[in-house]
């Protein structure tokens, strides 16, 4: 058992296959799971995608982005337009219900297009501002988040401030868990490579990184665009899970929530960030009736976290349990 888990960590492609296998099993054999639990799992998976992708930008590359929810919105609206308007118009003779084969088959390209449009938005926002050193990115992303929200509120063809209703319920355990696994895999595979050390080098010292031949602007833009892509996919999954989206669902508070997950997960630790995303999802369920206090709770958690630094105390314990990463000494 221990050996097989070691093999999973050594060989990330095996871990990916195992994770996708779990997603398939959940979908096929998960009939006994009640709808509420299913929804919580979907939300957890979507939050994992959001947090782990923002971690590439914030945790690994050290760029403070405040508009992850806006990229999510771009993916959500793009994919909802595709499944709600474009596809039924282009292929009217097919059946377009959530579980129909047509919607399931077309859901993958729809999600990828949503992610790509979000990635393009990421390139437009990040391209110019990441060229500059300093905190321009925080301001530009804050502005972009607001622009997207206001544009959506005033775009009548997507329902304006009321939002879009009746979105195809195409998201299921397979797609959500599958994409969560794929995202975590991609991030770990990226970071654990010579190429991926470039993100961390840029975060640690941009001047030194450039002096070693690393195109730091390119590295930052790459991280930002990849992050936006996965946020867009998460947006597509979200839209087709809750069947209703509105501009307010992707406001700054949503971005802040994702930032909290990344910080709690220990900035730059994909697995920790994924765990934090799941915990925050559960916390949100418990706090459902107290949602107006959510921000206060997050703030308190972060303050407690800064004081207690659980990661520092847990890491030596975890490194003994988890294979793969050796402790520094020896």
């Amino acid at each position: 058992m221990f050996h097989s888990s070691k093999a999973l960590i050594r060989n990330p492609r095996l871990a990916l296959a195992a994770g996708i296998g779990v997603a398939v099993l959940l979908q096929l054999g998960g009939g006994w799971i009640d709808p509420y639990t299913t929804q919580v799992v979907l939300f957890a998976a979507i939050n994992v995608i959001l947090a782990v992708s923002l971690n590439l930008v914030m945790g690994e590359t050290g760029q403070f982005s405040l508009c992850h929810a806006a990229f999510m919105a771009v993916g959500a609206y793009t994919s909802a337009l595709l499944t709600g308007k474009a596809l039924p118009t282009l292929l009217p003779h097919l059946s377009w219900t959530g579980s129909s084969w047509a919607s399931q088959v077309f859901f993958l390209p729809v999600l990828l297009v949503g992610g790509s449009v979000a990635a393009l938005a990421g390139l437009i926002v990040g391209g110019p501002s990441l060229r500059l050193r300093g905190d321009y990115l925080a301001m530009v992303t804050l502005g972009f988040g607001e622009i997207i929200r206001v544009l959506l509120q005033n775009a009548n063809f997507v329902g304006g401030a009321r939002g879009m209703e009746g979105i195809l319920p195409a998201t299921n355990l397979f797609w959500a868990v599958g994409f969560a696994v794929l995202t975590v895999y991609t991030m770990i595979a990226l970071v654990r490579s010579t190429y991926g050390r470039g993100f961390q080098a840029v975060r640690d010292d941009e001047i030194a990184a450039a002096a070693m031949g690393i195109d730091t602007t390119r590295v930052k833009v790459t991280a930002f665009v990849i992050g936006a892509f996965f946020a867009g996919v998460a947006g597509g999954l979200y839209a087709h899970a809750v069947e209703f989206i509105s501009p307010e669902g992707f406001n700054f508070l949503r971005s802040f929530e994702i930032i909290v997950m990344v910080i709690l997960g220990g900035l730059g630790r994909p697995v920790g960030v994924a765990i934090a995303a799941i915990l925050i999802t559960l916390l949100n369920e418990w706090l459902r009736d107290l949602s107006q206090y959510r921000m206060v709770v997050y703030a308190l958690i972060i303050i407690l976290f800064m004081i207690l630094r659980p990661a520092e105390t847990l890491r030596p314990l975890l490194s003994r349990v988890l294979p793969g990463r050796k402790p520094a000494a020896s």
């Binding site: 190429y195 961390q200 080098a201 030194a208 730091t216």
Partner: protein
Amino acid sequence: MTSAGTPLLEARNCSLRFGGIAALTDVSLRIDAGELVGLIGPNGAGKTSLFNILTGVYRPTEGEILLEGRPVTGLAPHRINRFGVARTFQNIRLFGSLDVRMNVRTSFIARLRGGLLEVVRRGKTFRSEEREIQEEGRRLLAYFGLEEASILPSRSLPYGDQRRLEIVRALATRPRLLLLDEPAAGMNPTEKEELKQLIARIRAEFSTAILLVEHDMKVVMGICERLVVLDRGALLATGTPAEVRADPKVIAAYLGEEHGEEES
């Protein structure tokens, strides 16, 4: 590869101003392939500023920089590194969250052949490339006696080892010109002696020219064949160590300084 007459590096009449402060004024310099040149001058003379314009950190306010005859003035630092110029920093700039091994590995990023998808796919190109990089990194660390430290966090190394690691990291980019900014600062006499030997070995093994900023005259005079002296941003003298030591202008500049402070 330098044809006779074309120097490896040439700076022509370079000036660098920060608002009212003139960090460099009309500095010209040439370095031939394989040369070991010492760059000296009192504190604030402009030595680090010269490194910064040679490596693209700052664009010279005036003047031109040529590498093997090609103008590189104002190119981004990573482009200049790809032309074969690598450096270390006066205030050590290692990647603090990366271990020793990974610090060296970053120097291979610019030469990677496989793209992003290849990395995520973990394909054949990726795996063979990673193996080569690991191997070359290991050889470099071993050559400089740092293999024992390879999985330690770079910040945990003793000061002298951190300076050595910066040199290894710079060499891993395969430079033809290596700029060392006070590599002996903070080293004890034994470490300084080792550093002198190390620099000699680098020249022999890596066929790179070196421009060395160093305050310790014993280090500079002992190993450099040519010295360049800066004072208040301007070129004061250049020549062999013996010529420079006998130059009255240099003596005056250094005497003025030594009244103020004693070199550590």
